[in-house]
Amino acid sequence: MKMDLGEWNAGGNAAQDDPAMPDHRPLAIEARGLVKRFDGFTAVDGVDLSVPEGVIYGVLGPNGAGKTTTLRMLLGIIDPDAGLRRVLGSERPHDVSHLIGYLPEERGLYPSMKAVDAIAFVGALRGLPLAEGRRRGRALLEEHGLGHAADRQIRQLSKGMAQQVQILSTLVHEPRLVIFDEPFSGLDAINQGRLEKMMRALAARGTTVIFSTHVIAHAERLCDGIAIIAGGKVPFAGSVDLARDRIPAQVRLETRQADGPWRSALPTNARAETKRDGSTFFYFPLPESGIEPLLKALVEGEAGILSLSIERAGLHDAFVAIAGEAAARALEENPEEEGRR
């Protein structure tokens, strides 16, 4: 199949247009119009990504949305049918593979290898001399409380420990870019917390961390930027704040009076709920003019304000608004993940 590689100027840089994303940093990942088809099925359909160096970036979407295929294209495991990719400045990902760490969704290590050797082997694949890999591997295992397991075979470790060994193996060569595919799946809550901490530490020292997930909470807690992916397309890429801003903040107003001349100051789409005690709740999107003019009208109209709050939309609501109800439901159901657990 002939690849249509296009030109780099075809797309804009979402990260540079996003006030919440650091625009002064070089890009760790650039992708323009990535397309991948399998047996007539388009798994990835024109994906654009711009990930600045040193950020934590989430690729958020339900299973089968195209997350793994996108990551595999960025890593050079598979080639795109169309589009361009540039990883750490190189259009050939394997040329910079010594600067990249990767944790695949389907975890795997050689069962007969010792933990320290497994780490050193992955390091060796990334250009780290074997002896240095063993030294660093032992240090990493000690640092993460697994020193006692260094000389045990992978088959002798628990699933969780083996998973931790594999995560450490992605870091042994001290990469500039780490790509985790569904890193939290299969981990218990304690180890999920440890992994989150590790990801933050990596970003703090300048390593770019990209991870795919179908769990909105992880993306919301960790990410500087996200790409929402659904049906092989990326309907949104930018900061978490920018995603939330797709939905106007909601105003929740409680008044003593149910009606009065001040009602004309409320937006026409305001929804009202009168309580038994006579107080009334109004829900409406924050007006473009802001809250101050409204507040002034309410005070002057003696509405009797009991409470007023402005609630910013969560990432879940943003995801629903951006990717649609069906994708959001697939994200929540996630039958494959449940099956694995």
């Binding site: 798994a43 089968g64 040329d95 290590l109 007969s112 082997f121 250009g127 001399p129 069906a326 439901r329």
Partner: protein, 410 residues
């Protein structure tokens, strides 16, 4: 750890292949499967011995050296009659006789010219008369046959053990038919060994890759190094393992032969000589294995399960058998169009060229053939890696269920 302090750098294709090879080599060498690998060839050897129908075509011709009789009618009849009389007592101690020419009394035949003719199919020629027999042929052979021929001549003259005529020996400088047949036998032995080794190893490299897919390690490898390097690494590792195996088998067979008082000398010396023949054998074995291994790796990389691997590899195994039979058949007709085709077709080329090394002393052709085969290895590895990247590693398609009406409205 301090960030960004790299102790290594980007690996070249060969270095990456060696990292993969080193791991595989160590893992296989220290595994139980290596023991099975060492004893594995016994089974196909037995099967090969039973099924070598093609080999029998050559073997039948090479069973016993034949002494051609080129004498006058009366002399020839007397000699063959003497052979018949002595046969019940002496059996195979006498050479097998075949009358190849009847010459007029008093005429001498150019026995050396007769030997050079391929159609003659004899190893030496007996000419002259009963009273003054002349034996023409390779020195070692006519030395061996001097006594039996003297006995035949004496018996033919009715003088029994009382008087033996002097046998004139004429050593032939030309390559005798016996040598050609012997070299065919050497060639075929080399081919069979090559075939059995490649089949065992290609199967092992296939299992190795399938195991790797089952362990989910393939994606880690594919992300870190180009797939070409993974393929090459696996092929190199198994090749190194095979050399260990060959060393063990060689030492074992050598010891057994020494104990049994037998040696390679029982096979006719190949045209290029034993040291070079063995060196070329190793080189052609490497090529045959790399070619077949690369095909099997491609299959292994695309198959998801062991069952799929078995299904996919069956036609390749059968095709490889056909290639072996093709090469074995071709070796019986050196220089023919069939043999030349077998030398050019990449998969039969190593087998055919090894046979040529046994029969023909020209070395240039081997250099060309090895380059040709290496180019095909590179091409198949490249194709296999490309196929892997295009067809493997696909995630499941999106299965987003359409929203139910009620939920959609909400």
């Amino acid at each position: 750890m301090s960030g960004g302090q790299m102790a290594g750098g980007r690996l070249s294709l060969l270095s990456a292949a060696l990292v993969v090879a080193r791991r595989d080599f160590a893992a296989i060498l220290l595994s139980r499967s290596f023991i099975f690998f060492l004893i594995g060839p016994l089974f196909p050897l037995v099967v090969g011995a039973l099924a070598s129908g093609v080999g029998q075509r050559v073997e039948a011709n090479a069973a016993r050296p034949v002494l051609g009789v080129a004498m006058s009618e009366s002399e020839g009849t007397a000699i063959t009659g003497a052979a018949r009389r002595l046969a019940p007592e002496l059996g195979e101690a006498l050479p097998e006789l075949a009358v190849i020419a009847v010459v007029p009394d008093g005429t001498r035949i150019d026995a050396g010219a007769v030997l050079k003719q391929k159609q003659a199919q004899v190893s030496a020629v007996l000419s002259g008369t009963r009273a003054a027999p002349v034996l023409t042929g390779p020195k070692e052979l006519i030395d061996d046959w001097r006594g039996p021929v003297a006995l035949l001549a004496a018996t033919a003259r009715g003088e029994g053990p009382r008087h033996y005529p002097a046998v004139t020996l004429a050593a032939s400088a030309s390559v005798p038919v016996d040598n050609r047949i012997g070299r065919m036998r050497t060639a075929q032995a080399g081919q069979t060994l090559l075939f059995l080794l490649t089949m065992v190893l290609a199967g092992m490299v296939l299992s190795n890759l399938v195991e790797e897919k089952a362990n989910k390690i393939i994606e880690i490898l594919a992300a870190a190094v180009p797939m070409d390097a993974v393929f090459l690494g696996k092929l190199f590792a198994m090749l190194a393992i095979s050399f260990v195996g060959i060393a063990v088998w060689g030492a074992t067979i050598g010891t057994v032969m020494l104990i049994g008082g037998r040696s390679l000398a029982e096979l006719t010396s190949p045209a290029v000589g034993w040291p070079l023949f063995i060196a070329l054998g190793i080189a052609y074995f490497a090529m045959a294995y790399l070619l077949l291994g690369a095909v099997f790796l491609t299959i292994g990389s695309m198959a998801a399960t062991v069952r799929e691997v078995q299904t996919l590899s069956m036609p390749v195994t059968m095709a490889q058998l056909m290639v072996f039979f093709f090469a074995s058949y071709a070796v019986a007709s050196p220089g023919s169009a069939l043999e030349r085709t077998a030398a050019v077709v990449p998969f039969s080329s190593p087998f055919t060229m090894l046979a040529r090394a046994a029969q023909d002393s020209d070395l240039t052709q081997h250099a060309i053939a090895l380059c040709w085969q290496a180019a095909w290895v590179a091409l198949i590895v490249k194709l296999g890696a490309g196929l892997f990247r295009r067809r493997v590693m696909k995630s499941g398609p999106a299965r987003v269920r359409p929203a139910r009406k009620g939920q959609a409205a909400a």
